[in-house]
């Protein structure tokens, strides 16, 4: 940065100093390219999910039929007593646990413990697969047993099914893509592809995974609880 100092006789204070720091030489953020890209992609993806959720809230207001009672629809019976939202609660628990194993994997990556990183990423992927399988179970139950379709359902507003399949489907695709991504990175870690380059890639994959989890929390709150 010495070349720069020649032109900047005095370090600036206040707003100008802030701008100078942010627009400094060569790179704005001291992070690898991949990480910067992942962050920006996630902001973009946030806009997608925000639009989905806004659209959902909007059609829920405009629809002329009553909104179906979610807690009853998403209830499972154990020993004859229906427990509302039990499946979703377990799914949420699974997904949030996967964020924990992912964070541990990132830690192990930076410690260059390849085997632990590999297994923790596999555990994360396994949690992801569990989540998607439970979602598949939920979908098949709704479609086959309850007769919910994207274009209509026996409980009330047809938008209920449309929104449900669209948003959880889009999120499920994200989780599935994440599982594949995690497994690819995990195997490359094990093979030693990143021994020289460093293990930032684990954290980058982790960013995506945590994002997918965070989105689920919003979907859970807005769609299942509201």
């Amino acid at each position: 940065m010495s070349e720069l100092a020649v032109n900047q006789a005095q370090p600036q204070s206040g707003l100008d100093g802030l701008v100078d720091d942010w627009t400094a030489d060569k790179q704005t953020y001291h992070v690898p390219w991949g990480k910067a890209m992942m962050w920006i992609f996630l902001v973009s993806d946030t806009f997608i999910f925000t639009c989905f959720l806004t659209g959902y809230l909007n059609v829920r207001m405009t629809t002329t039929q009553p909104w179906p009672p979610q807690s009853e629809i998403f209830a499972l019976s154990f020993g004859g007593a229906p427990i509302p939202l039990i499946l979703i609660a377990i799914m949420t628990f699974v997904l949030i646990s996967s964020s924990g194993t992912m964070a541990m994997a990132v830690n192990m990556g930076y410690r260059k413990d390849k085997m632990k990183t590999f297994w923790l990423m596999c555990a994360t992927a396994a949690f992801g697969v569990t989540f998607v399988s439970m979602q598949a179970f939920e979908w098949s139950k709704l479609i086959l047993d309850e007769g919910v379709r994207p274009w209509g359902n026996p409980f009330g507003a047809p938008q209920f099914g449309s929104v449900f399949f669209m948003i959880t489907g889009f999120h499920g695709l994200h989780v599935s893509a994440g599982v594949i991504y995690l497994l690819i990175v995990a195997f490359k870690v094990k093979r030693g592809d990143y021994d020289k380059k460093g293990f930032e890639i684990v954290e980058i994959a982790g960013l995506y995974w945590h994002f997918v989890d965070l989105v689920w929390v919003f979907i859970f709150a807005f769609f299942y609880l509201l």
């Binding site: 100008d16 790179q27 920006i40 973009s44 997608i48 925000t50 629809t63 002329t64 994207p150």
Partner: protein, 594 residues
Amino acid sequence: MAYVPLADQEQELHHPHSWVTKYVWSQDHKVIAVQYGGTAIAVGVVALVLSLLMRLQLGFPETFDLIDPSSYYQSVTMHGMIMVVYLLTALFLGGFGNYLIPLMCGARDMVFPFLNMLSYWVYLLSVLILMASFFVGEGPTGAGWTLYPPQTNMAGTPGHDSGIVLMLLSLAVFIVAFTMGGLNYVVTVLQNRCRGLTMMRLPLSVWGIFVATCLGLFAFPALLVSAIMMLFDTLLGTSFFMPAVIESGTPLDHNGGSPILFQHLFWFFGHPEVYIVALPAFGLVSDVLSTHARKNIFGYRMMVWAIIAIGGLSFIVWAHHMYVSGMHPYFGFFFATTTLIIAVPTALKVYNWVLTLWEGDIRLNAPMYFAIGFIFTFIHGGLTGLFLGNVVIDLPLSDTYFVVAHFHMVMGVSPVLVLFAALYHWYPKITGRMFHEGMAKVHFWCTFLGTYAIYLPMHYLGFLGVPRRYYALGSTDFIPQSAHDLNTTITIAALFVGASQLLFFINIFWSLRNGKKADPNPWGSASLEWQTPDTPPVHGNWGPELPTVYRWAYDYSVPGAHQDFIPQNTPESVEPTVDEQHFDPDHDVSKADL
């Protein structure tokens, strides 16, 4: 281990070995730029021909039977969508963004060359899907480029069977392509600049493209979501956007959806989209003006902040496209206010362009013609925007030819003039040949005067209340004979302008082979892309060592310098420094020192 920025590490460049990897499956940003540009211009010609077909119908109703009412609407739709998304967005960001960002940032390539290559091929796929809609079912959709439901899905709309599906699919694919390219552009600008190149030393072209790409990354999601929802409505029979509708006496199988939701989502994308097209144009034209006026750009810092402010504000003005949708007056008040506020930074830019020309040593080269022409058309289109931004004036003018004239001046003609300015300006660097100067100037006058002949009368037609998107006006009391005659005149002008674009194509293709060999820096430009060791730049751009930047991109006519420009990579030991890092907008340093 000390942290080494990636840009300093040895980069693995994939050096192409065969013709195919060099020109087809290329990961070189310059080849990708040309691929993007060529595809965009080719599909733009399709849209131009469609507009001429519409003009023939409007100017000479019942004379030609080239198009019927259905194909008229299909032409309107495809013309609009192609021009806005597949030509302008793709050419500014995919074309110029790809070509200029690495060169102006002193980088060897984009940060993710493979993703960049993928971006082009996915873009090409989206174009092919769109073009396929001409050949299936009833042809492309005729719902207008805004694709408003419920009309899009009704049997009376041409292409409601397969055209609309292909259109939405193509848009979704385009957004995927744009995201792959856009992430590249943003990260390259942020993280891959050469030594000494702070962001406040970047040419305004890069700033314009950078902020426009950010807008794209945050605005296209809304379009993607609305495309997905509408696909569901069309294919699965859901009712996101479809209310209860009765079509020819039969109720459709939809209810409870919100057409207004679509309008909000669409314009939440659609208004930033205007600036996705305009901001790169602002940036490119600033560089062309400054170079050919041999003067630093007036108020560089202000220009940067104006670009950022416009970018930010563009997200909170979208509903001014929807005044007639029946919104709450306070809502309209809010959006009218933000719309007028956005005029402030925009006007600031215009003043700065004019002040850049003021007392400059203006070289009237062909790119400069187009750049100055842009200032005229942009002021013109911008002023009519003030009319339409106000709710009470917009209501009577909505859906008339006044609107058509406004948006064609401000985001049709203006960006296209900048595109021509930029294409001519960077042509010597891209191809290594000079274009034919005389032919380019004739091209300018035909285009500039011709477009005025087209769009100026349209304002008048709009005031008369002539509605847009009508296949034929017929005989109506409020439309006098003079308006019909004017329509004929406009058509003749449009045909003239359309034909004169041949000059451009003849020029660039003829010059490829027969043009004079270009100097490395024919315009005497200070910015980095003209300082490459080879012209056109080879793979890797910079030879063995990356350049180092010591100053901003606008050191023109610096007192005491050896030439009337100082390239960005000239050290202070060789030339004096008038770096405007902390340029005081009230005090034009370069002039005061003269």
